[in-house]
């Protein structure tokens, strides 16, 4: 890294470190904290005497007890705490009560390889011992059945069909690069056009090369209008115009494509917020639905994606694409669980009719399918 970048980031980093230390301090006072001492770490790295660099060290400081000494947490008190020694605990408790260790391994492998994530997997498995009797725990079929039910319970979030009575209903489609936003829009447009609805598409991805042409081809396939701007147009004005047009033509639905963006890009997330405001300006109450598209091949990062997009623009539902592949998209279990976002659609191919409404039973069935 060059000095320029360092200066560039310096001010902020310093401040962040400050906040880190500050909050860490608060933490220490309230909770027997783990045996990590960031003050010391930072000091060590700075090559300074830690006592010299640590302004927080005062007599009111209780010595930090080792991690093992932390008080026993209630089982429901959050995933994070189940971390240390979970398998040991699980073995002691479940195994002690008769759940076969081989079965635990098998289930864990199944859950993790479907991208459910080790934390959610542990949480689910841990839940079993509360739900099942000693006798049932010995029965692999019963254990699996209960596990399936649990997952189904998490992902089966009620979601009403998209209401098309907002004259027009505005649907904002967002997500990271390459997840399938434009394709999903094309499929949706085709579906609603076939149902006799009038659909307008907004070519809001003015950034990626040929993104507009891509949407136009989908518009042709679906048989609906695509509103686009001149080259390198401002996405906000394209979207504004599209919604105006949808209003004027009394369309039922206006679907807005947006450029793919990583949730870590501050300016691009700000741009998304702006787009949302513009939609509301063009048509009060818009967007009526903010659809976050997730790629089923994505691993644990999808959780962060969902969290950040939700925070930025209040995502209302999810579309899970590429389920026609070998990936199972298990990460949505964690997303449904943590963020309460329902899955509305799934993508199962590249053709115009490869879109389905999400079905919890099918999803769970596929998770547990032998591959």
């Amino acid at each position: 890294m060059d000095i320029g970048t360092l200066i560039f980031a310096g001010g902020g980093l310093i401040f962040l470190v400050f906040v880190a230390l500050f909050i860490r301090k608060q933490t220490q006072r309230r909770l027997p904290a783990p045996g990590v001492d960031p003050e010391k770490v930072l000091a060590d790295h700075a090559g300074k005497d830690s006592a010299d660099l640590d302004p927080f060290r005062d007599e009111a400081d209780v010595p930090v007890p080792p991690a093992e000494a932390a008080p026993k947490q209630s089982l429901s008190a959050g995933l994070a705490k189940t971390k240390t020694g979970f398998m040991a605990k699980l073995n002691a408790v479940i195994f002690g009560r008769g759940l076969d260790e081989g079965l635990v391994d098998e289930l864990e492998a199944l859950l993790v390889t479907s991208d459910i994530g080790i934390r959610t997997a542990e949480k689910l498995l841990e839940g079993l011992k509360q739900d099942l009797s000693k006798q049932e725990l010995k029965d692999p079929a019963a254990v699996k059945k209960r596990l399936e039910e649990k997952i189904r319970g998490i992902v089966a979030q009620k979601v009403a069909p998209l209401a098309l009575d907002k004259g027009p209903t505005v649907l904002m489609v967002i997500g990271v690069n390459g997840v399938g936003k434009t394709t999903t829009i094309g499929k949706l447009a085709a579906r609603y056009t076939q149902e006799g609805k009038k659909v307008v598409l907004a070519a809001g991805d003015t950034f990626r090369a040929a993104a507009v042409q891509q949407l136009e081809i989908w518009g042709e396939r679906a048989g609906c209008v695509v509103v686009k701007g001149p080259n390198e147009a401002d996405p906000a004005s394209v979207i504004f115009e599209a919604i105006q047009k949808a209003k004027a033509e009394k369309a039922d639905l206006c679907i807005c494509d947006t450029a793919g963006r990583l949730h870590t890009k501050v300016n691009l997330m700000e741009e998304l917020k702006k787009l949302k405001r513009v939609m509301n300006k063009a048509h009060e109450g818009a967007p009526h639905e903010v659809l976050l598209v997730l790629d089923a091949t994505t691993g644990q990062n999808a959780i962060t994606q969902a969290r950040q997009f939700k925070e930025a623009v209040e995502v209302s539902s999810l579309a899970l694409t590429k389920l026609d592949g070998t990936a199972k998209g298990g990460v949505v279990v964690a997303i449904c669980d943590e963020l309460g976002l329902p899955v509305r659609y799934i993508g199962i191919g590249e053709k115009v009719d490869d879109l389905r409404d999400f079905n919890a039973d099918e999803f769970v069935g596929a998770l547990f399918e032998e591959t």
Binding site: A9, A20, I23, V36, H45, L79, I217, D295, N301
Partner: protein, 445 residues
Amino acid sequence: MFGNLEDKLSEILKKVRGHGTLSEDNIKEALRDVRLSLLEADVHFTVVKDFINAVKERAVGQEVKASLTPTQDFIRIVSEELTKIMGGRAAELDLKKKPPVIILMMGLQGSGKTTTTGKLALRLKGQGKKPLVVPADVQRPAAIDQLKTVAGQVGVDCYDTKPGMKAPDIAKLALAQADRQGQDVVLVDTAGRLAIDLELMEELREVKGILNPHYTLLVVDAMTGQDAVNVATEFKNQIGIDGVVMTKLDGDARGGAALSVRAVTGAPIYFAGIGEKMEALEVFYPDRIAQRILGMGDVMSLIEKTSQAYDVKQAKAVAKKLKTDEFTLEDFKEQMQMIRKMGDMKSLLGMIPGMGQAMKKLGNSGPDPDKEMKRIEAMINSMTKAERADADLLNGSRRKRVAEGSGTTVAEVNSFLKRFKESKKMMKRLAKMGPGGLRGMMRGF
């Protein structure tokens, strides 16, 4: 160098000291931690299993040398095993072969093949090559246009694929054209495809047969989960893989897919895509990704985030204020707002070495850093302008007012102000160290 994992391990391995050797028992917890870290980073389940077994096998029975701490011993083993899989040094394409050097790009839908093709062409052009890029993605709408546009942007020749052409024909004709035009590199972009799509895989085999490429590169999205192993296995078995490009590494995915793909293919990872711009392609550094996968404080991406949120002027202004002791509560509030823009505090703090583990441990019951920030903000909001400019004005009765106004307690206000002052001192010292000092501070990460 192993950041928070190292902290955690040293805690655990303290117990080993005095035992003399590493045993299965005394490294159990450490191994469990490594395992969890890898799984959370999306490394494939069985790859993790093999890795943990390899580490265990090597570690158990090792004598803990008096000169080294057990932590260092253990970490050395973990890191050596990781390096074994990841490959130690950055790999480079050998372009000195008889021209034209032919490179075939393949991968799943949306992994970034087209963009990477453009980036690679630009890079090779910069090395004095005369590349021809070939749009052979006849599946996705406007994919051909996309590559043509990209080629125009980076100023390289592009084969003029016509609608309706078949991929193998494109390959044939493009090769002939490359010969005629004396292009020394040919980069062929193909449609994204699932490895279970037999028809499309057959097409790819055919294209490969015609091209007889020097390099068949698999393009893998860094955010890929467990499926990376299936993808790599299938593409390897059905097509053959000479190398890998990891894309979208500018995000905050831990990139465990890199480890999975390496373990399966053994092929070198040549490049890392780190942004949407055409210049955003880097040589892939195995050691960096190894650290990232292990979840060590990700200072690099923290810095990246910071530099996105701040402009240079702001950063300089803050640094100056810190140095000269002019940093006020108002500045503090502004800073907090800037940082809030960068993402949620929990994940930001997780990037600071030593903090990640602490944050995780806090779980849901501990103080939520984001809420904590809001409380602080509320306190500052309840202060007058003069108070914000000079915290010393805040006497007992003023503090009481602030506490009431912000829905906090006087004790909380007191503690905040105390820490504000203390931290200011420390930040001043850090700021004075300047970039050099900061660099020193970060060298270990």
